[in-house]
């Protein structure tokens, strides 16, 4: 049988007495947009943080491209080709746009025996990528602190799109955005899928997820309560699932 890009099996995770995840199965196929929805505290962020190595699961297994993996740190996740825009941990306000953009993946050039930052390249690529994404910034040398919430979110998304080799994870990327900015993010998601990436899209907003996702997984208080292809259900049914934990029409 064909393996999906990511397969998480029987994942459990507790923080002290709080069971954030209880035997959750989750998967993302190649070239698929997987919507991950559920109420606040359902465990969505925890689930993806396990996939990106921020947390270690108490039990369960992860398969990436069919191989069993242990992702011990975010560094390992990035090396696998997973890029993430975390809900509240995206950018360093005091550092410049360009330095934020390339953090952990800095281009270097040799100067004799030492490797120094290729600042020129960092500035150029940052400007170029953000321009391509129609994110207007004044300068790649400006500190993140002077950008608005929406601009910051866009920069973080731009970075993930630029480095995301195989899997892109967006944890509530639209929460700080205006309507127009949100629509642009939804367009990026579809464009990235066209380029061959898989995307995990976490959101509160059902109509957003419904408009771009191929499949939707619903978490409720640490449990997976449903998973289905979008064309199998209507928006109302998804809302019913999230609100009442069942499929409204049945």
């Amino acid at each position: 049988m064909a393996f999906p890009l990511v397969k998480m099996v029987n994942i459990s995770k507790s923080f002290g007495t709080v069971q954030a995840l209880n035997q959750v199965d989750f998967e993302v196929d190649y070239k698929e947009v997987m919507g991950l929805v559920g109420d606040n505290g359902a465990g969505k962020s925890t689930l993806i943080k396990i996939l990106t190595g921020v947390f270690q699961p108490d039990s369960g297994e992860i398969f990436f491209e069919g191989k069993k993996v242990r992702i011990r740190s975010p560094k390992e996740a990035r090396e696998l080709g997973i890029e993430t825009v975390y809900q509240d941990l995206a950018l360093l306000p005091l550092m410049s746009l360009a330095r934020n953009f390339f953090l952990g993946k800095e281009p270097v050039k040799r100067l004799g025996p030492v490797k120094i930052l290729d600042c020129q390249k960092m500035k150029e690529i940052t400007s170029q990528v953000l321009q391509d994404l129609q994110i207007s910034i004044r300068s790649p040398e400006e500190p993140i602190a002077i950008l608005s919430g929406g601009e910051r979110q866009s920069v973080a998304i731009g970075r993930a799109l630029y480095f995301g080799a195989k899997l892109l994870i967006l944890d509530e990327p639209t929460s700080a955005l205006s309507v127009r900015e949100t629509n642009r993010v939804l367009d990026y998601i579809l464009a990235s899928k066209e380029k061959g990436l898989s995307i995990i899209f976490i959101t509160h907003n059902i109509s957003h997820v419904y408009s771009v996702a191929d499949r939707i997984t619903i978490l409720d208080r640490g449990k997976r309560v449903a998973q289905f292809y979008k064309n199998e259900v209507s928006v109302e049914e998804v809302i019913g699932f999230i609100r009442f934990g069942y499929k409204g029409a049945e």
């Binding site: 360093l92 550092m95 952990g104 004044r138 400006e142 002077i146």
Partner: protein, 321 residues
Amino acid sequence: MNKKWIGRNKFGRKPEFGALVAFLTIGVGFSLAAKGFFSLATLASVLTVVAELGIVTLGISILMITGEFDLSVGSNLAISSIVAGRLLQQGLIDIIAIPIALLFGTSLGIINGLIVVKTNIPSFIATLGTMMFWRGIILALTGGHPTIPYFGHSLIFQILNSRTILDFRTSAFWFVGLCLIAHGVISRTAYGNWVYAIGGNREIAYTLGLPVNKVRLFNFAFCGMMAALAGLMQLARFQSVDALRGQGLELEAIAASVIGGVSLRGGLGSVYGAILGVLIVGLVRTGLLMAKAPPYWYQAFVGLILIIAMIVNRRIQASQQ
């Protein structure tokens, strides 16, 4: 190129600019107040102070940019000097004894780092603990003998810290070299980028895949090594070490860093700013001496500059956000 970008990042909006203005103001002030202040001889004596304090400050300021403190540098400086002095007294050849002392100081830094990284105790508290611990050990070790005289003659000590032309000391050249390296690493390498990121927000840095704890540990080790190096330079200069050597040094080094625009909260500041801070402190010390002011004015003066610097830096930061 990119003129419009430069406009928003004017040097005039950085805390380092305030430090430069302060440096020039104080320099001019002393030149007017003390006869013969504006001279190469003064520069040489400023640099004598600045080199030793500055090497300690290099270590501390990089650690502060990483979001950590090391209050134990003064104790480290003293105990590393004592280790070197004792080994030399017992007849160990300097080419072995001095590197051992340097490694000893480095390992004290590593111990600080391990305590902080493994237990998550704030470094301010952890190194307050090691500062007191090592000072206590020194007092116990030296017992009733306040000084350990060192009677030998050592080529390595001469290389580290001896007079050259016009009373400029070799320590000044070491300091300048270390400053250039530290500044280059912090501002122009990926490692430097990580240091700022970790100081800015450790969690974000970690989620982006940076080796957060390795960098913190390395910077603690570097800070320890710099403290020991400064201690060896003082040992070379005074030919002796006493049990109270280096007391209060940690606060002087932190003050110098802050005067130069290094933030107490991490993630902000620069090596050249810290160097400007040390130069200001050195200028004040030498200037007051030459103006024949009683020595206690030094502390008062540095304290005053520290507060003014803090106020100015806050203003500058606020204007950027």
